[in-house]
Amino acid sequence: MATIAKAGPNTRLWNAEADEHDTISTRTFGFWLYMLSDALIFTSIFASYAVLSTPMNLAGGPGPAQVTNAVEGFWQTLIILGSVFAYSQATVALKNGSKAGVAAGILVAMALGVAFVSMGWHDLAALTAQGNGYSRSAYLSIFFTLIATHGLHMGIGILWMLIMLVQIARFGFTADVVARLLNLRMFWQFQATIWVLVYVYVYLLGGAA
């Protein structure tokens, strides 16, 4: 840059129309960034899982093959994918402006989500009852943590869905409500993705070891 460009007769110094910004895309972009940080949380937990899966970490207790059941996990996978599908139907209804359609999709997604979390809870409770709770060994600690962290995210999503049902009824499809529904879609799909990774890495690969 040898010289600074010259101003011309059409040079504009101020732009009053610029204040209008797209609130929905700003909000969803921010939520996407938050999802990135959430991805890092799961990455760290997965890395810890890998580190704590050696024979030394089992401390004489059960390992992946003993605590996971690939068939049960498969049903869970179908349920969570079904939940995501139900929510995506809700999004289609949103595009068409149908409150009833959105509510129906959300209700089905919630029900399937609750079923998923119950199955996971049942698994962990059964292990604990056997004496293989999270304080038995480092491996069990990280296994419980991985499942429970995912389950906690699912629980937050279910609560969020409940709140959205109330907000749709009260406010209709305002910009804020639509932004939240879109964020929730991102959140829910992300949870399903994490579960698929858990299923593949912990249930299938771990169970085969």
């Binding site: 101003a7 700003t26 921010g30 938050y34 890092l40 999270y134 038995r136 480092a138 709140i163 939240r180």
Partner: protein, 687 residues
């Protein structure tokens, strides 16, 4: 389900008993009296001048990025002072307790701090300086300046911005509270493993440390989201990517680090929390635990964290050096590239913090190589600043002095860092005071960057400059103190002095330790000049112009001084890199907008400060195992967040007439001024 804890526990008070108050420790009692006195004076003044409603409406419930930034910086400076006092105590202990014949007072065998207290002091020193002094000051600077530099009215998420501030404050409050109720961690700022596990640390100290960091790192992650979204989505028209000022670019790369690295710390601390609260076995020695996992996770965060801290000061230097050399920044594109290179490579080097842990030569060699690579973009930055000064017209104002000192420190600190990155050298000085001197050199770069930025941008926010004469005295005494404390420390490290010693077993080290104490005295003098500078500046309040230094190049110098709460009356159209310099070249820098349009501004909200208070209560409850308090606070936070989502308040409209009036009398719109109540909107036209 819960682990068995040493000591009594009651449902109402948890582990908290009267024994937790150290009323027999004269140092702490004295500190409490001093702090309480200052606190009472401040509260009395606020009530006497009837400023409580003003404080509540204008500061505690604000979502204005500039006020939030100012509060961040105030928090950081207060904690910097506390951290300095910790450092002063450490230096003094280490100069007294040298050799088996050294005297001991106040219950200590040698010196005046028994090991347990000394250990808490240095753990607090590290935690405070990095997490509660440096990070808030830099976050505050980014908060204030980034929206101004891109021509935005506020951050992308003003409410989240306030939440970040109050979460950080809650963490800081917990640390301050640990002085008077209970104890702090003795396991260093990193959480030495397995020392921080229950068998070796059954008390509340480690818990205080853990929860304080968790709360503030949540705030930092949210702040990172905010900055990235603001830069990506809220730029003024014409502000293309390669017209962004370097300070903004640097905040973008810093925030990407913040967004991606802090969750790893969160996981590491959460796993430790599970160990300490639920009896899991992540980092225990038995039951298959592997505490090296904690060390790895911690440093996977820890190394990006130090780049998180040092990149903004680099950005500050990149603003100040061009302004005071009256030349554009040399190598703008490579500066940007170097910032991202540093952020990226910084992810791959973490194991150089524990070369001696026995990873083997291949891994040690890899991490050594990766660490050395970071020196390349850092060197490029130094060369770019040098060639900005080359054939410039340099004025040595206080900000410029700080910047030049910072670059010298970077050179020396970076050189010693390169030394440490070689295992052959590292195996002799790991965990010695050589390492301490190295990283203090680096955080002094952060400090010089922070002081440079405060001096540089102070007039923009407050409308008057800081006193130059006392500013320079502060500068020289601070730099001199730094040299006299840390140059001998490098020597002591090479002599073999290891770190974290409460009692120095080798009397041969005494002369250099005395030299370091002289340095600390110089630091104390520098604090005097800092306070004098603030006092004289406030007393004289010489008004500064819009372009306070006369040679500003970037957009923030185009607003009024002091900057009004709405930033720009009309959003500017950007035509070039260094927009103000471009306008000045073309004789357009004095042109003001002719017509005004209504502006949509966000309303204040009490929810963030309430969340902050609740977060502190949650932390306190968790620390002391007061389950009802922790549970209630957590529930209240969730309810507050949900309730706020039902809030129909959409902000308010600032009419064109009001703007015209404020533009003609700018002191009515400044950060300090009190604003009249404006009615919020129920809904906003879809746009």
């Amino acid at each position: 389900m819960q682990v068995d804890l040493q000591g009594p526990w009651s449902p109402l008070f948890g582990r908290l008993t009267l024994d937790a108050i150290p009323y027999d420790n004269p140092i702490i009692v004295g500190t409490f009296l001093g702090a309480a006195t200052i606190g009472l004076i401040v509260v009395a003044a606020v009530l006497y001048y009837k400023k409580l409603p003003y404080l509540w409406r204008e500061w505690l419930t604000t979502v204005d990025h500039k006020k939030i930034g100012v509060m961040y910086i105030i928090l950081g400076l207060v904690m910097l002072f506390r951290g300095f006092v910790d450092g002063l105590m450490m230096r003094t202990q280490q100069v007294i307790a040298v050799g088996p014949d050294s005297p001991g007072v106040l219950g200590a065998q040698h010196g005046f701090l028994p090991p347990f207290h000394f250990d808490q002091v240095y753990s607090a020193h590290g935690t405070i300086m990095l997490i509660f002094a440096a990070t808030p000051i830099l976050a505050g600077l980014g908060n204030i300046i980034v929206p101004l530099q891109i021509g935005a009215r506020d951050m992308a998420y003003p409410y989240l911005n306030a939440v970040s501030l109050w979460l950080t404050t809650a963490g800081a409050a917990l640390i301050m509270l640990s002085l008077f109720v209970g104890q702090f961690s003795n396991a260093a700022w990193v959480g030495l493993m397995p020392l921080a596990e229950l068998p070796y640390n059954p008390g509340v100290g480690v818990d205080y440390w853990m929860w304080a960091i968790q709360l503030s790192s949540l705030g930092t992650t949210f702040n990172a989201i905010n900055i990235i979204a603001t830069i990506v989505k809220m730029r003024a028209p014409g502000m293309t990517w390669f017209r962004l000022p370097v300070f903004t670019w640097v905040n973008l790369s810093t925030s990407i680090i913040g967004l991606t690295a802090f969750p790893v710390l969160g996981v590491a601390l959460s796993l430790l929390t599970a160990d300490r609260y639920l009896g899991t076995d992540f980092f225990t020695v038995g039951h298959g635990g592997n505490f090296m996992l904690y060390i790895d996770l911690f440093w996977i965060w820890g190394h990006p964290e130090v780049y998180f801290l040092i990149l903004p000061p680099f950005g500050v230097f990149s603003e100040i050096v061009p302004t005071f050399s009256e030349k554009p920044l040399f190598g703008y594109l490579t500066m940007v590239a170097a910032s991202f290179a540093i952020a990226g490579i910084g992810w791959s080097v973490w194991a150089h913090h524990f070369f001696t842990m026995g990873m083997g030569p291949d891994l040690n060699g890899y991490f050594s190589s990766a660490t050395m690579l970071v020196g390349i973009p850092t060197g490029v930055k130094i060369f770019n600043w040098l060639f900005t000064m080359y054939r410039g017209r340099i004025t040595f104002t206080t900000p410029m002095l700080w910047a030049v000192a910072g670059i010298f420190l970077l050179l020396f600190g970076g050189f010693t860092g390169m030394m440490l990155s070689a295992p052959a050298i590292n195996y002799t000085v790991h965990d010695s005071v050589f390492v301490i001197a190295h990283f203090h050199c680096m955080v002094l770069v952060v400090a010089t960057g922070a002081f440079a930025a405060v001096a540089y941008w102070w007039p923009k926010v407050f409308g008057f400059k800081l006193d130059e004469h006392n500013g320079k005295l502060f500068f020289w005494t601070f730099v001199l103190g730094s040299v006299v404390v840390f140059v001998p420390m490098f020597g002591l490290g090479l002599e073999g002095e290891t770190r974290r010693l409460d009692y120095i077993f080798n009397p041969q080290w005494r002369p250099l330790l005395i030299a370091e104490e002289v340095g600390i005295v110089l630091y104390c003098i520098s604090i005097f000049y800092f306070l004098k500078m603030i006092y004289v500046s406030l007393r004289d309040r010489v008004p500064a112009g819009d372009d306070a230094w006369g040679t500003g190049r970037t957009l923030e110098w185009m607003t009024h001084t002091p900057v009004p709460f709405y930033n720009f009356a009309v959003t500017p159209q950007i035509n070039a890199l260094d927009e103000l310099a471009w306008r000045r070249e073309n004789g357009l820098d004095k042109v003001k907008p002719e017509t005004f349009v209504p502006i949509h501004m966000p309303s204040n909200t009490a929810v963030p400060v309430i969340i902050g208070v609740l977060a502190m209560a949650f932390g306190f409850g968790m620390i002391w195992r007061i389950w009802w308090m922790a549970g209630a606070a957590l529930l209240a936070i969730i309810v507050a967040v949900i309730a706020r989502s039902f809030d129909k308040n959409q902000g308010y409209i600032l009419t064109a007439e009001e703007i015209a009036k404020l533009e003609s009398k700018t002191e009515l719109a400044s950060v300090i001024a009190e604003q009249p109540k404006r009615a919020p909107l129920d809904h906003v036209e879809a746009h």
